[in-house]
């Protein structure tokens, strides 16, 4: 028994498990050290959790685009980072115009909603055009080809933004009503975080209802399972694929707007990190699975916000917060090695069988 088992295990497996064990030990060790030092009080932890959830909710909005497009075309849309940033970059000009003519000060809520909708519309249009122009002609090509094309589209958009908007950082106008903190559910939270969290949750709930209950959502799921059979039902497969890209794009545009609210600024290359993290979230949650992407994103947001303080600090890392981006990618590698299907991937697979 044991002999057979030993035979099946390769040197790489042992190395991988070894690395995994070391990381887990490190995390546990660091966390224990931090917690027993009592360096952070409960308000500080609360803050970190809220920050994590807020970030996570933005990642979730972006991650949906990766996951629905993967679900329907089995393709990673690498241009999604630029679909995400295109909305807030263009909407910046609307925000500034509304700010300059005083509308934003007079009607802050209407103004914000306008800017948000505009951002969503722009990202949605970019997503639609990318699919229509770059991906659709390659629908029947081997899978590697659309993937490379997606990277090309990403670079094309990135440098178009750089050319159009310059390489500087642009400051989004800040609104007085979003400044400061307020008690919320018994905690003291920054107002802007509450706005982000609530908007993101409303959008995610709408998305979930669309996918689950509407004719469009059912058709999306049917197409992602079997395109020929879907066509035999009278479903216009091209139209559903367009709609899928547009939904993913609109949510990314909303995420981009909320990201600009959170960090008060936009730049041509702003899409890279948040989108890579959203992609990680989608993989962590089980790519192709909408709920998985949401869970993965929240998980990643919290780990990223708390990780540096909870375990890196305890391990004596000098500047733990500088490492928060690295955590996401360690997690991605970890998941790819030990659970390639992601959190909800397996359940999906058994359901399919």
């Amino acid at each position: 028994m044991l002999k057979n088992w030993l035979k099946r295990i390769s040197a790489t497996d042992i190395l991988m498990w070894g690395i995994g064990l070391i990381i887990i030990l490190g995390v546990v060790w660091g966390s224990v050290a931090t917690l027993s030092s009592g360096k952070y009080d409960s308000a500080a932890w609360q803050n970190l959790i809220v920050t994590g959830l807020t970030l996570g909710s933005i990642y979730a909005l972006i991650a949906i685009g990766y996951t629905v497009v993967y679900g329907i075309l089995r393709m990673i849309n690498f241009a999604h980072s630029e679909i995400f940033s295109g909305g807030p970059l263009v909407a910046y000009y609307l925000a500034r115009a509304l700010n300059d003519n005083g509308f934003l000060a007079k009607q802050p809520i209407v103004g914000l909603v306008l800017v948000a909708l505009f951002s969503m519309f722009i990202s949605m249009s970019i997503a639609f055009l990318a699919e229509r122009i770059a991906y659709r002609p390659l629908r029947k090509a081997p899978r590697l080809i659309p993937l490379i094309t997606a990277i090309g589209v990403s670079f094309f958009l990135l440098y178009t933004y750089k050319g159009l908007f310059g390489s500087g950082i642009k400051d989004y106008p800040q609104l007085d009503i979003l400044k400061g903190r307020t008690p919320f559910l018994g905690m003291d939270i920054q107002i802007v975080y509450i706005v982000i969290l609530i908007s993101a949750f409303v959008l995610l709930a709408i998305l979930y209802s669309i996918v689950q209950f509407t004719k469009l959502g059912k058709a999306m799921r049917a197409v992602s399972e079997d395109k020929d059979t879907a066509a035999l039902m009278g479903i216009d497969v091209d139209q559903i694929i367009s709609a899928t890209f547009m939904i993913g794009g609109a949510l990314a545009g909303a995420g981009g707007f909320l990201y600009a609210l959170m960090f008060h600024q936009v730049a041509f290359a702003m899409g890279f990190f948040p989108a890579l993290k959203a992609f990680t979230s989608a993989v962590v949650g089980g790519i192709g699975n909408v709920v998985g992407a949401m869970i993965g994103a929240m998980f990643l947001g919290i780990i990223e916000a708390m990780g540096p303080n909870i375990f890196l600090d305890g391990l004596g890392v000098p500047a733990p917060n500088q490492l928060k981006d690295a955590i996401a990618f360690v997690l991605l590698v970890f998941i790819l090695i030990f659970r390639p299907t992601g959190i909800l991937g397996e359940r999906l697979a058994t359901k399919k069988a």
């Binding site: 004719k215 059912k218 058709a219 799921r221 049917a222 399972e225 079997d226 020929d228 059979t229 879907a230 066509a231 035999l232 039902m233 009278g234 479903i235 216009d236 497969v237 999906l348 359901k351 399919k352 069988a353």
Partner: protein
């Protein structure tokens, strides 16, 4: 004018010449069967009619209208429904959602009478409405595929081996259902390997051999035909 007509249809998979000039007709209200051995081109014929495949030569007409100008999903709106080979249900959707997809092409939302009719034909599906279709048994999936095709209220229904892999009792039930559906006004083109059963409910039949129609006659005559008896009915 026949409801469905194929005239000298040639269909290819790349270089593979799968249909070599097929001509056939289905009249309104008929059950017509298309029989043939594995690889004869039966599925290819149905996929050509539904627009999933395009004939390189020849044409398919429905009530006189040339179908070559329409995409697969548009042909559904003309009243053609298909029960695909190997069931082809959406395994991750529930039974109800599969039925909803069957009705996708319909403008009206009044599905209640259709559901009632379907649950009468297949009481099993009623119990399993909210179950994920991938977890149904093979026979239940076959019923679902047929029910789903009916949801579109087609004028013509194409069935690709609906009895495949089913127990004899179920095969009989499925064939009874086909007769029932036909009585209620739907024209049927039935592809089968179970030639005996198919010929017992059909009015006419075509025999397909490696992409060519080698025989065409009434079902009665085909059953008596020596070649058919040997090759498809397993008689010596």
């Amino acid at each position: 004018m026949a409801m469905l007509e194929l005239e000298n249809v040639h269909t290819y998979y790349g270089n593979i010449h799968a249909l070599k000039g097929i001509s056939m007709k289905v009249e309104k209200g008929e059950i017509v069967t298309l029989i043939g051995a594995n690889g004869a081109g039966k599925t290819t014929t149905l996929r050509t009619i539904t627009g999933i495949l395009r004939p390189r030569e020849g044409k398919v007409t429905l009530n006189g209208e040339d179908l070559s100008q329409f995409k697969a999903h548009e042909i559904v709106y003309k009243g053609v429904s298909m029960v695909p080979e190997g069931r082809g249900i959406f395994g991750r959707l529930t039974v109800s959602e599969n039925l909803d997809m069957g009705a996708y092409s319909r403008k009206d939302k009044n599905f209640a009478p259709d559901l009632e009719r379907i649950f009468n034909l297949f009481p099993r599906l009623k119990e399993r409405r909210s179950q994920v279709a991938g977890t149904l048994s093979g026979g239940e999936q076959q019923m679902l595929a047929m029910a789903r095709a009916l949801m579109a209220r087609p004028q013509l229904i194409l069935m690709d081996e609906p009895s495949m892999g089913l127990a004899p009792v179920l095969v009989e039930a499925i064939f009874d259902t086909i007769v029932q559906i036909n009585k209620e006004g739907t024209t049927v083109l039935l592809v089968e390997q179970n030639a005996l059963m198919a010929l017992s409910i059909a009015s006419r039949g075509y025999v397909l051999q490696t992409g060519t129609i080698v025989l065409h006659d009434t079902a009665e005559n085909l059953k008596k035909n020596e070649m058919v008896q040997k090759a498809y009915l397993g008689m010596e």
